[in-house]
């Protein structure tokens, strides 16, 4: 066989592709077919299931089929309609004795649509008697706020009517249901509800039994007498509990009211937040409440304080609390919540051997401080009673960073109430802005909570805490470590960190963010790994990190506060040492967030900065464009952002070009920039050509225009007369045309320069006529360049016209179509041509 020709090869490939397509079509048809079969099989499956459900005893097969039905319904995005008969059977199964069946029927029905006009198997009065799974279904099917309101009322009423009839636990799911409804629709609440539930919560929270529940006597010959003499509940460390029951009390078993204590405390904070928002809703309702509250006062009086009846040993908390029996329900609940939280804080100090309990203690502290904050917001008089306890707690925990998550709510408390109580908060902020970011930057949950704390309190932080804005080098550590998770928060926070005092340093810090990320990795590694172990490969950067001569550089990156200088001298040394970090995923992820943040930074800074600061920022941009960690995409993106904002700043304040003319001309006169910073270079040249003019700034002299012209001319001459340096591509055509336009613009403002441009342009034409050139590989590009050259050349032949076209006065530029010189020039030329021709 001879060699295969390219056309044959192509034909073969096409045939293969065609066959592939055919197979794909067949597969599609097969899938179609399967779908069809499924539908008919489904119907069979339904009817088989109906038969199974008719049987008196529900078999394993029934359970399996129900589960299978659930998968079928769950797996499709679209709703399948079940046969009416099946739906009805499933509804009746909701109250089946076996829980498995309840769960399954509820799960299946949640995936279907209610039949029209079909209501769940309950009448308006007994919703609260449904089991938890049926109730969940009922809730998920609620079709409107009104329906939810009526359900809410029913569930609340059921709390009132029943004490503990029915099996244990039947009661417990009602509080979570109520809480769910209030979460979604707080307007369900009426003042009556608030009173009712507040009273119930007081009972469960403060007066749950303090003896162990029935579980203690689970059989056994010798347990008999114990049953008659119930044991008191214990604290987590095993000592006998001396005060009222809380979630941190343990026993062999629990009574129903102890379970209710757990459920009540679990929903307490949300309840306080919700009823708070309800009662502040309208003032007319408020006065009505007061009447009702005074009426209910008699009720609370009759409600005897059972804790005294119990005759338990009264601890500090109970002893110090004032008698609250005379308070109306809401205030009474507040008082009891206050006592409960104080007791929890006390209890959290007890030693426990189990991790689950130790974690619960922390979670309880978070909740308790949150609740105390809540009640203090409502009733400022409680602030003075609460602060000693909060202060003591802070003192106890502040040095132990494993309690960091607890310290955040404490910080919130200080922020909300510190001023009122005239408490010194400095040590709190030292921990929050100092140690947290510096030492716990790798704790994702703390980062999330701390940044949320900042977002929520932004206004008061900015107003009252100058250390907030100063702490940005520290806060940015969260971003440097875990960029994807927190970038969203920083998008919101960054504007608040930009001030006239911090702008320059912040800009440098943002640009050094990938370096910070690498440094944190090194810091993490050097603390986690022994010096000898570098994970198999030796890292230049890790050696540098441990090298005392570079210590200062790394310490600057790791600084906790702003103000020790905008940046450092030996940045390039640092970049060299960190060069290998450019491939570390964490550093790459971090670098990807920088351009977004830079955009936000510049957008914010133009709203607050004066011209001096903006001029300084331009300087930083020019400087830092060549001082970046060597990640190729990162550098390109940063240059793009710089270009975009350089243009915006100059457009906003054209005299900025005059302010920084020396640096801009120097930048534009460096040939290397054409090749490695094309984007930036083009924009700098354009800005010089556009705004270096007397009409923008009266300080602009002929000498300056000439020196700028000469710098640009030299570069243009160099790049169009020699081959590009080895390794670099040809200069972009856009750079060349921008340079030509800028030269023509400058010449139109200083007519002595016109012959020099013209000479260059004519040379350009003659060179290109001879054929290809080394500095432009694309024929079309070359034609475009030459055409532009010819246009400019002929324009410059009539200097008066050239000036009006290339440096149009303000009233000509105001119309939008003139904004882009590149686009509008041919348009202007055509307009001028038609004018001259008509004459």
């Amino acid at each position: 066989m001879g060699p295969v020709s390219p056309t044959q090869c192509l034909r073969n490939r096409l045939r293969l592709r065609e066959r592939e397509r055919q197979r794909e079509r067949e597969r599609e048809r097969e899938r179609e077919r399967r779908r069809e079969i499924q539908e008919s099989e489904l119907q069979k499956f339904y009817s088989r299931l109906v038969k199974l459900l008719q049987a008196k005893e529900l078999s394993h097969e029934t359970v399996d089929s129900l589960q299978r039905l659930h998968i079928i319904l769950f797996a499709t995005k679209f709703t399948r309609t079940l046969p009416v008969e099946l739906q009805k059977r499933l509804l009746s199964l909701l109250s089946a004795p076996a829980e498995q069946i309840q769960v399954l029927s509820s799960a299946v029905l949640r995936e279907t649509l209610p039949l029209s006009g079909q209501e769940l198997n309950y009448n308006q009065e007994n919703a609260a008697q449904l089991n938890s799974h049926a109730a969940a279904l009922l809730l998920s099917r609620a079709g409107s706020r009104a329906e939810l309101s009526s359900l809410c009322t029913q569930f609340l009423r059921s709390l009132e009517s029943r004490q503990s009839e029915g099996p244990a636990h039947s009661f417990t799911h009602i509080l979570p249901i109520i809480n769910t409804m209030l979460t979604h629709s707080p307007e369900c609440l009426t003042e009556d509800h608030v009173t009712l539930l507040s009273k119930k919560l007081v009972d469960w929270l403060r007066y749950a039994s303090i003896t162990q529940g029935g579980g203690a006597s689970s059989g056994g010959f010798f347990t008999g007498p114990r049953l008659r003499q119930p044991m008191p509940v214990a604290e987590l460390d095993g000592t006998v509990s001396g005060d009222f029951f809380t979630v941190l009390c343990v026993g062999q078993g629990f009574t129903e009211d102890q379970w209710m204590n757990v459920y009540s405390f679990s929903m307490l904070r949300h309840w306080l937040l919700t009823y708070h928002s309800v009662s502040t809703g309208s003032t007319t309702a408020d006065t009505a409440n007061r009447v009702r509250l005074s009426l209910s006062l008699s009720h609370s009086l009759s409600n005897d304080d059972r804790s005294e009846v119990d005759g338990s040993v009264v601890s500090m908390v109970s002893a110090t609390s004032s008698s609250s029996r005379l308070l109306p329900p809401k205030e009474r609940l507040r008082e009891k919540a206050f006592q409960y939280c104080q007791r929890l804080i006390e209890q959290s100090d007890r030693k426990t051997h189990r991790r689950i309990d130790a974690e619960l203690q922390k979670a309880c502290l978070v909740e308790a401080v949150g609740i105390l904050d809540c009640v203090c917001v409502e009733d400022a008089s409680l602030v003075y009673r609460t602060f000693p306890c909060i202060k003591a707690l802070f003192g106890r925990l502040s040095s132990d960073l494993s309690f960091a998550r607890v310290l955040l709510p404490i910080a919130q408390f200080y922020l909300n109430h510190g001023e009122m109580a005239a408490v010194d908060c400095e040590s709190v902020w030292k921990v929050v802005f100092g140690r947290f970011p510096a030492e716990l930057f790798n704790d994702a949950f703390l980062a999330h909570e701390l940044l949320r704390f900042l977002r929520l309190n932004l206004e008061s932080l900015q107003l009252r805490l100058p250390q907030y804005t100063r702490s940005f080098p520290n806060l940015l550590k969260f971003l440097a470590w875990n960029s994807p998770a927190v970038v969203d928060d920083f998008v919101d926070l960054l504007p608040s960190l930009v001030t006239t005092g911090t702008a320059v340093e912040l800009l440098h810090t943002l640009l050094d963010l990938p370096c910070l990320s690498a440094t944190l990795v090194l810091q993490h590694r050097s603390t986690c790994l022994p010096i000898s172990d570098t994970g198999g490969r030796s890292l230049v950067s890790l050696d540098a990190f441990r090298n005392p001569s570079f210590r200062g550089l790394f310490l600057f990156l790791l600084r906790g506060e702003a103000g020790s200088g905008d940046t450092i001298d030996r940045l390039s040394t640092l970049h060299e040492q960190l060069a290998e970090a450019a491939s570390w995923p964490r550093v790459v992820q971090c670098a990807q967030t920088v351009p977004v943040l830079l955009h936000i930074f510049f957008n914010t800074v133009v709203t607050i900065a004066d011209q001096k600061l903006l001029a300084h920022l331009i300087l930083v941009m020019l400087e830092r464009s060549s001082l970046l960690l060597s990640l190729r995409t990162f550098i390109r993106e940063v240059h793009r952002v710089f270009s975009c904002h350089l243009l915006r700043l100059c457009k906003l304040q054209p005299s900025l070009v005059m302010d920084q003319s020396h640096e801009l001309v120097e930048f534009a006169g460096t040939t290397a920039n054409v090749y490695n910073k094309e984007e930036m270079y083009t924009h700098v040249v354009w800005v010089l050509g556009e705004y270096l003019s007397v009409s923008c700034d009266s300080r602009c002299s002929v000498r300056l225009i000439t020196s700028c012209f000469e710098a640009l001319e030299a570069v243009l001459f160099e790049i169009t007369s020699s081959t590009p340096p080895p390794g670099s591509p040809c200069p972009a055509p856009r750079v060349i045309t921008t340079l030509m336009s800028a030269l023509a613009k400058l010449a139109s403002r200083s007519h002595d320069l016109i012959p020099r441009v013209s000479l260059f342009l004519s040379k350009l034409r003659s060179v290109t006529r001879c054929g290809s050139v080394t500095w432009c590989s694309d024929e079309e590009d070359l034609v475009a360049i030459v055409t532009r050259g010819e246009e400019l050349w002929s324009l410059l032949k009539t200097p008066g016209v050239a000036q009006s076209v290339l440096t149009p006065s303000a009233h000509v530029t105001t119309p939008q179509w003139h904004k882009d010189t590149n686009v509008s020039m041919p348009l202007q030329m055509r307009a001028l041509t038609s004018l001259t021709h008509s004459q």
Partner: protein, 200 residues
């Protein structure tokens, strides 16, 4: 309040395009958000169900990205686990939290806590003011039970075929989305019920 609990994949699946995640279990607590929002009130029940499914899918996708980026950054190799390694798998699990902005996909801001175990993620979507320390503990506890009772480190598909077990688990440890403060005694008593249910 916890808004929903999800179990979904965080690995590459041949049936899905890159970055997608397959939701294996999802449970939304409480009434449907769509019914209560003005924006979606006009939707038919069928459309609302679809919207709810899509919301779960959005959360799953976001968490999937978070897990992969997290794993990429921490540069740690996943250890192969087999049934019996549940405790170790849980100990080795990656965890984190994703901020879900208001409107994306829930009408209010939410925090999605995730626990990445091998190729699966267990995700709790909480209201952000919720006690996240408690939520974290609850999520760990739920995950442990799921791994054990549904043999999720094995090859089988019990997570789909025994999803009622997860329902039963949730009804005790996270009833109607309510996070509970359970000390070890309360937890033991609930676990006894769970074990009794699983034995059936």
């Amino acid at each position: 309040m916890v808004r929903c609990f999800l179990i979904h994949t965080v690995c590459q699946l041949s049936a899905l395009s890159a970055g997608e995640s397959r939701v294996l279990y999802s449970r939304v607590f409480g009434p449907d958000e769509g019914v209560l929002s003005d924006q979606h009130r006009e939707l038919s029940p069928e459309e609302r169900r679809l919207l709810q499914k899509e919301k779960a899918a959005v959360v799953a996708r976001q968490v999937r990205s978070a897990v992969s980026l997290f794993r990429e950054a921490s540069d740690r190799q996943l250890m192969e686990m087999v049934p019996g390694d549940e405790a170790l798998a849980l100990q080795e699990a990656d965890s984190g939290v994703v901020r879900l902005r208001a409107g994306d996909p829930f009408s209010e801001e939410m925090s999605a806590l995730w626990l990445g175990v091998q190729s699966l993620a267990f995700t709790l979507v909480c209201e952000p003011h919720e006690n996240l320390l408690l939520a974290e503990g609850t999520l760990r506890n739920l995950t442990r039970h799921c791994l054990e009772h549904l043999h999720m480190l094995g090859q089988g598909s019990e997570v789909l075929l025994r999803s009622h077990r997860i329902d039963a688990l949730l009804s005790r440890l996270l009833p109607h989305g309510q996070l509970l403060f359970l000390n070890h005694r309360f937890a033991q008593s609930l676990e006894k019920e769970v074990v009794a249910y699983m034995a059936k």
